[in-house]
């Protein structure tokens, strides 16, 4: 009986309280600390003897030794059902717009609202009939949710096979209306609605098998898709010092990635950056559907001044929502900015628990927590044979910009793709500032492997020549070496760099990348003979300008073709010269 299971506060230390409990508690169960007429949400994070340590998802201001804490017996959970898309939540799945309507300018503590609209009606079409057998995750029917068919799944916690006793006919229902009742082999009966709860720290695993991610996830960022691709169902990370471009890159990916559902988790970063998404996405068009970008997005934001414990929960909330859409056979992409803030939240709590710290004060279990988070990504074959995926990209904010720190290192061990952002490239305005020599990916590129190897070799040699030139000067460098340097700079400026904020250049689809990359490789392969370095410099400057102009023209348009002819004739001219 939830309300009778109580305890009393015996200690308060920052956002951690220690509670002496009467009967029993469960690790990770939710409790409420009672402060006057307010109930502050907490989670049990350690039990010792008859004392439990709880992290409080709110400010602990005013709590007193002796205050009552009531345990709920439920693990920290999210509500899953139609209506999640387009929502903006805090880390505990409270809808921010509704909170603003209720509390005004500030996030008043102790105010919790239902995650999903309880009164909205959804057009339900059943896909099972009485006496059908079902098990966890099977579809009972569907409702249209914006641009997608939202399948209503049998509870993910059903054990064994159950029989449909009754199922509602097609019609319009709220998420609280009963739509089915099911019976287990033992004769237990459960009534089902269109929504269900799921504990965030436990992965949803109602699928047949996990598959190897093979298909390239098109992000429309040339340096990523061509050089350091992300796979559908894969994982990647973007570490970089402050100001290197992590957030701008994540926003670009969230807008242009060719995927079904995008979940943006702003975890311990600036509120202003979230506001940009909130105000702009509704007005941006998703070219795949012709609808607003918001219709495929869910925003979870627990920005840096919001309670730290809820920040820790926010990444789990986000990935659980992603897994939910995967169960429908969709491809979900989760972008978390920044996972370092999540790790810091863990560190703060670990410090309060007085655990023995590992490196830089992070808890010793940091690595395994990071690993199990990224492990929740993946391409899966569902029990019904459909494929679905969760792709995870995490920004990492290493202290001092030094990648040798625990969070970056732990992340690099588990991800399939490393996009290292470089301060130097950002300072010289070479965006996206992904380092072309230090980054890597285990996934398959859009283009031919050998061409990539060729291009990377050119970049490396170009860098070597440049270093040499800094010592011996331009005069002391041979024309051949100088041309290598110019070619690598050419590749960098026309292909690796991309104007994120330009509607055409900012999004380069697969066909365009393949086409333009071929032409770029052709230039790298060509043997030009120049009389003097100055001629070479002039030529590549001109060619660079032509390619950059080309990048700004719509793919396949007349102007695009015209510019291509122009480039071809310039290249031919030089071959003939």
């Amino acid at each position: 009986m939830p309300e009778t299971n109580q305890g009393r506060i015996v200690g308060v230390n920052g956002n951690m309280i220690t509670v002496k409990f009467d009967t029993f508690v469960t690790q990770n169960e939710v409790a409420y600390a009672i402060l006057g007429d307010k109930r502050l949400k907490c989670e049990v994070i350690r039990v010792r003897g008859s004392n439990a340590d709880l992290q409080v998802f709110e400010s602990t201001n005013g709590l007193t030794v002796g205050d009552i804490v009531s345990f709920t017996g439920e693990l920290l959970s999210v509500e899953l059902g139609p209506g999640l898309l387009t929502m903006v939540y805090d880390g505990l799945q409270n809808p921010l717009d509704q909170l603003a309507k209720k509390s005004g300018f500030f996030l008043e503590r102790g105010v919790y609202l239902p995650a999903l609209d309880q009164n909205a009606k959804w057009d339900f079409t059943p896909s099972v009939k009485a006496d059908d057998s079902i098990s966890a995750g099977d579809y009972l029917g569907s409702v249209p949710e914006g641009i997608y068919t939202h399948y209503i799944c049998a509870p993910f916690d059903l054990q064994g096979t159950w029989k449909i006793e009754s199922i509602s006919p097609a019609g319009s229902y709220t998420i609280k209306d009963k739509i089915a009742s099911v019976k287990s082999e033992k004769g237990n009966v459960r009534e089902l609605t269109m929504s269900q709860k799921w504990p965030v720290k436990i992965p949803i695993k109602c699928y047949r098998e996990k598959l190897l991610p093979e298909k390239t996830l098109i992000t429309q960022q040339r340096i990523i898709d061509t050089f350091f691709p992300v796979a559908v169902g894969g994982t990647f990370c973007t570490p970089g010092p402050f100001g290197a471009g992590k957030t701008v890159l994540q926003h670009a990916i969230s807008q242009h990635a060719q995927t079904d559902v995008v979940i943006v988790c702003a975890c311990g970063e600036r509120a202003g950056e979230v506001v940009e998404i909130l105000k702009e996405y509704p007005h941006l068009e998703d070219p795949r559907t012709g609808r607003s970008l918001m219709e495929r997005s869910i925003i979870i934001c627990n920005t840096s001044s919001m309670p730290v414990a809820a920040r820790e929960a926010s990444v789990y909330t986000a990935i659980t929502l992603a897994e939910y859409y995967r169960q429908m056979g969709l491809n979900a992409l989760l972008l978390a900015d920044s996972t370092s803030r999540w790790a810091q939240a863990l560190r703060e709590m670990s410090g309060r628990l007085e655990e023995i710290p590992g490196e830089e004060g992070f808890p010793a279990y940091l690595e395994s927590l990071i690993a199990s988070f990224y492990e929740r990504a993946g391409l899966v074959k569902l029990n019904n044979g459909k494929l679905g995926s969760v792709t995870v990209g995490g920004a990492v904010s290493p202290a001092g910009g030094n990648f040798e720190e625990p969070v970056t290192q732990a992340t690099l061990k588990v991800v399939g793709c490393f996009l290292g952002l470089s301060k130097q490239r950002a300072d010289s305005r070479r965006f996206p500032s992904i380092h072309p020599l230090e980054s890597w990916s285990h996934y398959t590129s859009l283009v031919d492997k050998e061409d990539i190897a060729k291009a990377r070799k050119m970049l490396r040699r170009g860098m070597e020549v440049n270093q040499m030139m800094n010592v011996v000067g331009e005069e002391g460098t041979s024309t051949d070496d100088y041309v290598i340097y110019l070619k690598s700079e050419f590749l960098d400026s026309v292909y690796l760099q991309q104007n994120t904020f330009d509607p055409v250049d900012g999004a380069s689809d697969a066909d365009r990348q393949i086409h333009v990359f071929k032409k770029t490789i052709f230039v790298l392969d060509s043997k030009f003979s120049f009389k003097a370095k100055e001629d070479a410099r002039q030529f590549f400057m001109g060619l660079r300008q032509m390619f950059i102009d080309w990048n700004y023209l719509k793919f396949g348009s007349d102007k695009f073709k015209y510019q291509e002819d122009h480039i071809n004739s310039r290249l031919k001219e030089l071959a003939n010269a």
């Binding site: 220690t18 007193t64 909130l278 840096s304 803030r341």
Partner: protein
Amino acid sequence: MRKVYHKIIQVSGNVISVEAEGVSYNELAEVSTKRGVSLAQVIRLSENKVYLQVFAGSRGVSTNDEVRFLGKSMQISSSQNLLGRIFNGAGVPRDNRPAIKEDMIEIGGPSVNPSKRIIPKRMVKTNIPMIDLFNSLVVSQKIPIFSVAGEPYNELLARIAMQAEVDVIVLGGMGLKYDDYLVFRDTLEKHGALTRTVMFMHTASDPVVECLLVPDVALAVSEAYALEGKDVLVLLTDMTNYSDSLKEIAITMEQIPSNRGYPGDLYSQLAARYEKAVDFDGAGSITVLTVTTMPGDDVTHPVPDNTGYITEGQFYLKNGRIEPFGSLSRLKQQVNGDTRKDHRAIMDTMIRLYANYKETCEKQSMGFSMSQWDNKLLKYGVLFEQRMMDLSVNIPLEESLNIGWKTLAECFDKAETGIKTDMLNEFWPKSETTA
């Protein structure tokens, strides 16, 4: 009246503990010692043991001194009467005038709901070309001046405050040299700005931990004013002193340090303050401009490093100039598209050419021969530093744009600037003879 305790069972660093009942977390207390009465705040509760951080420091605290709990957390008046007044971090007047007790509000209130914020779009004019032209300051921005001790950062702060067209200035000093405090006061007075200013001053000679209250009281008052529709500019100097006080308390409380002794929650602590910067949807705004001194000019030091991850860019002040490299206003693109149409072109071109000038300087120092192009750059670099970077330059944006064109025309041919032709036709100075 609340209960009074006479038995202090532990004194360690600036933290004391007493055995007491019914005390709540973050509650305030008064500790009366032979030296006087100091505020203290509850920072930990464990069974019946209460830990308090004593703002005036624990020096001279005796085990039988009196601790009286006040039954409330820290509050500050949000009245208009604060304008023109000077207080210490605890809100006690420093100007020998009466205390203000009306419209009391709690400090350290909750975060603004992100959905009640708007995208900032208004520029703050400073008449400093390195800011207005190259890294525009925007209403509601949070941005520090990164600098080493000894640089004129407080002068710069005062100057921006004088120039900015805001309704209220709230100045928070932490570990400020007494002279600097006087300079601030006199500057404000000279410009007739004192009447729209509130000052919370903690000077270098005050007890260290007392500075911990300064940002919170300053921001709480600012928030109250902003909710009334005012545009408030908050100046906080020096956030490194503030961080060092946090460090001191953390070490006393035996918290596990993360980096160079700083507590693991330094990021969250700083963010909770900086994130008070806001442009309210339907009320006023708070712009936060701070000073972060960098020990050893090292940006990777935990304080500037954590700050950089929180703020919306930084102004890097070095050798008395705002450096174009290392400085960044992350909000500039929100405003510099609507000023004058040549703004972005001049900004990009002049910075690019200045970067080229720097490279040329390097080549020159290595003894490589200078080409004709190099010589043009050398001329340009000197002019750029004189006309744009020198902090004594005090001109509106329009004028700095004009000077930008003039400088380009004195040094380069049109084509060498790489500026689009139609822009050149419109703005390239006609009378100048080009180089």
